[in-house]
């Protein structure tokens, strides 16, 4: 599992901004939430973690069973070790207005900008500006100290920041705000903010994690994202393999199921002995289910091999039969901590 590109424990320790992406439907929010919990409860001292979403989906509030998140950082969970997680739904418009207020003290102009559609223009249409604002909000949180200032000796406001980021299809563009925006806005504060953000994203402080399922499309997108991110000098951290089901048949039985060689009469008699009315339809049905299962396992094995070729640490998260809620996401966080330890990253 080691590779020239793969991160080790020192890189993991230095990382402060964890960007979590993945194809839609793979459970990005779940993985980001579990990661935030794991980071908050890890390594001895209580830790403060910011978990932020940038697409206004309110996925985090659903995962933690808390009221919808706003543009203020709000505590959404505590860990048994005393760590805490604050949640935030970053909104480009609010970020821009805050930013204008902070740097330009715009009273009337702010309102005018809004009235003329300039705010809408900047946050929805001007290419890349929106992304600069969204990441910029976290860039600011990353620099902030406990006392609320952005310099001085006070400890950092957050020990780690986890971003539930846009999906793999858009992540490369989202994170390469510099080339997008700095080329368009060649001077001015948006330009310089884009540059500072790029410095943060390309530094050791940032890791991008990708969530996938063992299915063709998500794995294909994961591999493309790994290539793209690496070509943009961004560090890929973990690959979360989500919703993995335990094998229910051993290898020999799987091979027999796949080739239709499971011995019907003996299975039938075992079932009958155990008190089941083993009609031929029932036995055929069970074998058909086993056949489907064997093919699904083959497909998954093939996809897992492709992921292993990246040399990146794979973190396996199990499928939760009842879906994800505020309780089960903690279970996933515990599993994640164990797995991080196993690949030599945590504790």
């Amino acid at each position: 599992m080691t590779d020239a590109h793969a991160i080790g424990a020192p890189e993991w320790q230095r990382a402060r901004l964890h960007v979590v992406t993945g194809k839609g439907g793979t459970g990005k929010t779940t993985a980001a939430s579990a990661l935030a919990l794991a980071l908050a409860s890890g390594s001895g001292t209580p830790r403060r973690v910011l978990l932020a979403e940038v697409e206004g989906r309110q996925g985090i509030s659903q995962t933690f069973d808390v009221p919808p998140l706003g543009t203020d950082e709000t505590r959404i969970a505590r860990t048994s070790s005393g760590g805490e997680i604050l949640g935030l739904s970053v909104d480009a418009k609010a970020a821009l207005l805050e930013y204008l207020q902070l740097f330009y003290k715009l009273g009337r102009a702010g309102k005018l900008l809004e009235k003329f559609g300039a705010i809408d223009f900047a946050t929805t249409i001007a290419p890349g500006v929106r992304d600069v604002l969204l990441i910029g909000r976290l860039y600011e949180a990353n620099r902030r100290r406990r006392d609320g200032r952005h310099r001085g000796a006070s400890p950092a406001a957050y020990d780690a920041i986890v971003m539930d980021a846009p999906p793999t299809g858009r992540i490369g563009r989202f994170l390469s705000v510099n080339s997008e925006v700095a080329d368009l806005a060649r001077v001015g504060p948006i330009h310089s903010q884009a540059e500072s953000i790029t410095d943060l994203l390309e530094s050791e402080q940032t890791l991008v994690h990708i969530v996938t399922l063992l299915e063709e499309m998500p794995v294909q997108e994961t591999l493309e994202a790994v290539r793209e991110l690496r070509s943009k000098d961004l560090r890929v951290g973990l690959i979360f393999v989500n919703m993995v089901r335990d094998p229910l048949l051993d290898d020999v039985a799987l091979e027999q199921a796949r080739t239709g060689r499971l011995h019907k009469p003996s299975i039938s008699s075992q079932l009958a002995d155990a008190g089941v009315t083993a009609t031929p339809e029932l036995v055929d049905g069970l074998l058909e289910e086993a056949y489907d299962h064997a093919h699904r396992v083959d497909l998954e094995t093939e996809q897992l091999a492709l992921l292993e070729e990246t040399g990146l640490p794979l973190v396996i998260l199990p499928a939760l039969p009842e879906g994800v809620d505020s309780g089960s996401v903690r279970e996933l966080a515990d599993i994640l901590l164990d797995e991080l330890e196993e690949v030599g990253l945590a504790r």
Binding site: E55, A109, F116, E215, L249, L286, D292, P321
Partner: protein, 402 residues
């Protein structure tokens, strides 16, 4: 992420709901020659593209002259359709059964090229070149959220025009929609882009280029100067200059953009169009489908129904999961031969399969309870990825139902 419903799996309410949901008859839709456009929409990752392709193949083999417009197909699916590259041109699909007199073409949307083509078609060569070289145009045409939707609509309009221009042209256009955050983006984004290009702010930005100095102030008042100087401060003068050049160059096409977006929207609400909402049996995907269905109904858009893909398949339906688990445990306790171990494994597998399928059915039924008038078809999961016409045909059979 929220709790599962506390309704038991076999309550009478479920039975009633299951009976109440009308069946979506795909073959009747295909046979109905008045249906000329089918739009497949839904959240990302639910199998929209596969549904569009399978539907296209089935319709072509039933005698329709079909073109399938895909946005971002999986590699194997693209190969199945014979699409080796994203080249923005409909290509005949090789290997389908043409005995019923149908035809099948497929294409992948190249959004930048489609945008370029619009520019080339509407501006004189010199102006077109100027637009294509503008950095702001390049950014808008390749990355603006919504451009993909706008261009999918644009391409649909073009295909529709091409289909109408020849008696042997396509009589059925099947459109896959872009993988956006929300299925609603497909309806809203074109209008957003259209009204932006036609809007007050753009006029304001272009004002200094058209009527510099005092005239501009006269037209828009003092606020404009404040806004434009603030924008210059924040974004830099070059950025605004690029935008202004872009806007000035697009001037001739202005009405065009807005009109085209409106026209395509009208096309979508006409009777010849049919929306097929696609979902996977998962809470988020079905919620997205709900929003979309509500919106279509509110806008009086023609909805043909909901396709729920990837339903778990249960082959040994007679055995309940709890019974299967109990027997598996008994077999394991007895510590019998390998065949007993295998039988126990099969039973545990069965219990898992049924539990998942039940949960999926409950989610689908929950949708039908809140939308009792929407026809639904449930499509069982294939045990392999779709990678050739044969597997697409299988999906098509499943779409048409037992």
């Amino acid at each position: 992420m929220t709790q599962t419903p506390h309704t038991p799996a076999h309550s009478p309410a479920h039975v009633r709901a299951a009976q109440a949901a009308p069946r979506l008859d795909i073959d009747a839709m295909i046979a109905d020659r008045s249906v000329e456009v089918v739009v497949c929409c839904g959240a990302g990752g639910v199998g929209k593209t596969t549904t569009a392709a399978a539907l296209g193949l089935r319709a072509a083999e039933a005698g329709r002259r079909v073109v399938v417009l895909t946005i971002d197909p999986a590699r194997r699916l693209a190969q199945a359709l014979g699409l080796s590259e994203l080249d923005n041109t409909p290509r005949p699909v090789v290997g389908f059964d043409a005995s019923a007199g149908g035809s099948l073409d497929a294409m992948m949307l190249d959004m930048k090229r489609t945008f370029d083509e619009v520019v080339l078609a509407h501006a004189d060569p010199g102006k077109a070149e100027q637009i294509l070289a503008n950095p702001f145009y390049q950014a808008v045409s390749s990355s603006f959220a919504g451009t993909q939707e706008y261009m999918a609509m644009e391409k649909l309009g073009q295909l529709k025009a091409a289909a109408g221009s020849s008696p042997d042209g396509w009589d059925l256009i099947i459109v896959d929609t872009p993988p956006s955050r929300s299925a609603l983006d497909f309806l809203d984004a074109p209008n957003r882009l259209g009204s932006f290009l036609d809007g007050r702010f753009i006029r304001l930005l272009s004002a200094p280029a058209k009527a510099s100095g005092r005239a501009g102030v006269k037209v828009f008042g003092l606020g404009v100067q404040l806004v434009s100087s603030t924008m210059t401060k924040i974004l830099g003068g070059q950025f605004l200059t690029d935008v202004q050049t872009f806007v000035a160059a697009l001037d001739t096409m202005f009405g065009g953009f807005r009109e085209r977006a409106d026209e395509t929207y009208r096309l979508l609400s006409r009777a010849g169009t049919s929306f097929l909402v696609v979902a996977a049996p998962e809470r988020d995907a079905l919620r997205e489908a709900s929003y979309f269905v509500d919106r279509l109904q509110a806008d009086r858009m023609p909805l043909s129904g909901l396709v729920v893909n990837r339903m778990g398949r249960v082959s040994a339906g007679a055995l309940t999961p709890s019974r299967a688990l109990a027997v598996a445990e008994a077999l394991e306790d007895r510590g019998g031969p390998k065949s007993a171990e295998n039988a126990a494994g099969l039973l545990r597998l069965h219990a898992a399969v049924v539990t998942i399928a039940q949960r999926q059915r409950e989610l689908a039924e929950r949708f039908s309870r809140s939308h009792p008038d929407v026809p639904v078809v449930q499509v069982p999961a294939l045990n392999r990825d779709v990678h050739d016409l044969e597997s697409l045909r299988e999906v098509g059979n499943a779409l048409a139902g037992p």
